[in-house]
């Protein structure tokens, strides 16, 4: 069973890659746009520090570390999950979700697998480079910290997935509102900066309720030796958030099946 799903996923990746090669110019252009539009906020950080100011208690490279992690997480989510929103919207508007529902695989799995999109490869590479540079300037990193980082990073990716799912689920209701991503992206902003610049109320929200702080801040904090119990406690809300996303999406598909689009 698992094998079957792995095979399907692998096929989908092959298709995505060959499409990218066929439409080379578009692929390169999309990659260029993706990376440039997503590194603007670290640019602002550089400009701030370049003007002689700083986020209190944080060196330039420490802040860049947070933003590099955020970028890598964004890239991973773009590659693996973000196609889901557009595919769902497109199917709902055209009334063609039936085509997916009659396939002998799980609907959600199929939509996620078939929308793998490597246009964010450049962003991932850029993020990794930024990450390496920042990391090399922040002091010793132990194996334990790396382990903690991996766990928290994955939790952050789960949050990204949860957001994708919730966005896709709401697109069933708010049909054709192409500005949906803007709403969720604006909340993600909170995860790009050191949490101590925000009042307790906000950082509690961004840690426990919509845990966007896990996307950039907490995994980076781990590599700075500052991951405490709270950070790991937040893993729970992350998983809960993701589970909520899956349930919501499935629920909307169920409703769709009842109404026929």
């Amino acid at each position: 069973m698992l094998k079957k799903y792995l095979l399907i996923y692998f096929e989908c990746i092959k298709i995505s890659v060959s499409t990218a090669i066929t439409y080379r110019l578009n692929f390169l252009l999309d990659n260029f746009i993706m990376i440039v539009s997503n590194i603007l906020f670290p640019l602002v950080t550089l400009l701030i520090y370049g003007s002689g100011a700083e986020f209190p208690g944080w060196s330039l490279y420490e802040v860049l570390l947070i933003q590099a992690v955020f970028t890598m997480s964004t890239a991973v989510a773009n590659i693996f999950f973000n196609g889901l929103l557009w595919a769902t919207m497109h199917h709902v508007i055209d009334g063609s979700l039936e085509i997916v529902l009659i396939k002998p695989v799980d609907c959600l799995f199929y939509l996620i697998a078939s929308t793998v999109d490597f246009s964010s490869t450049s962003l991932l590479i850029g993020g990794i480079i930024m990450f390496a540079v920042a990391l090399s300037h922040v002091g010793a990193v132990t194996a334990l910290m790396v382990l903690q980082f991996i766990v928290l990073f994955l939790a952050g990716v789960c949050v990204m997935m949860g957001i994708s799912l919730i966005m896709a689920a709401t697109s069933f209701k708010w049909v054709g509102n192409s500005r949906l991503p803007e709403i969720f992206n604006s909340i993600k902003y909170f995860g790009r900066y050191p949490q101590n610049i925000f009042p307790k109320a906000i950082s509690a929200f961004t840690s426990f309720i919509i845990p966007v702080a896990m996307i950039g801040y907490f995994p980076a904090a781990a590599l700075l030796g500052e991951a405490d119990v709270t950070a790991f406690a937040i893993i729970l809300p992350c998983l809960a958030f993701t589970a909520a996303g899956v349930l919501l999406f499935r629920h909307m598909v169920h409703l769709y099946e009842g109404v026929g689009g």
Binding site: I33, L47, F55, N177, R179, I183, S186
Partner: protein, 273 residues
Amino acid sequence: MMNFVLKKLKVIWAVALVTYKEWSAYRTHAMVSIFVGPVYFIVQYFIWSAVYSGKTSLNGLELSEMLKYFGVTTLIGYLTMDFADWNLQMLVRTGKFLTFAIRPIHHRFFALSQKIGHRVLGLLFEFLPCLFIFTFVFRVNLRPANYGWAVISVILAFFMNLYMNYLIGMTAFWLVQASGVRSVYLLLQSVFSGGLVPLVFFPEALQKVLLFLPFQYVSYVPAMVFIGRYTLGNISLPIPQIVGLQALAVLITALVNELVYRLSMKRFTGVGA
């Protein structure tokens, strides 16, 4: 003469009305800004409050002015943004531009009328609610140093954006895949118009280059007119002068626009679409 003006006004009214109706079918579209705008501002608020701790001024701006800057650029955006480039490109690509070539209307004038219709919606459903939130809930002081110059500057920015976007849209007459050009332009614009961070934060050498580029006139200049002081590349200008410069920039862009329009129409009627 009077007849001419009246006729033009009638066209603006008709097209604007149509565009307004077209988009008010998508009111929720505009209302997203009521959420996104304030959230974005909140994030900026905490970033700059933290960055300014222990400092009164950064690159010539105080904290209150920074906050005013972000509030103002967001609000001005609701009044001056448009999709003229996208609309024109789509018309040319689908061949529908032909339906304008066979009617007695200058398409750019049509685009202007469309923008007026859209922005009236923007005024009602984006600008006013966000203005309310910024002023009364966040208690940010957004009052311009001088109302007169501020209004003029915003109107100039309205036209500047239209002419620039329309220029980009016209590349569709010349290039098959014009979307690449558009994307590059939008990226440059988003950074160098001052929407990301006040232009004085960039290295001075770059600032001197930006003095000669049209991007600043869409966001940075009107925002600084609100704050009451203009500096770029170590050059400071009094407000009347910078607004005058803005007007000149709009004029030049309009002329370039008309030139390219005529060349584009010549090409369109020579090659077909």
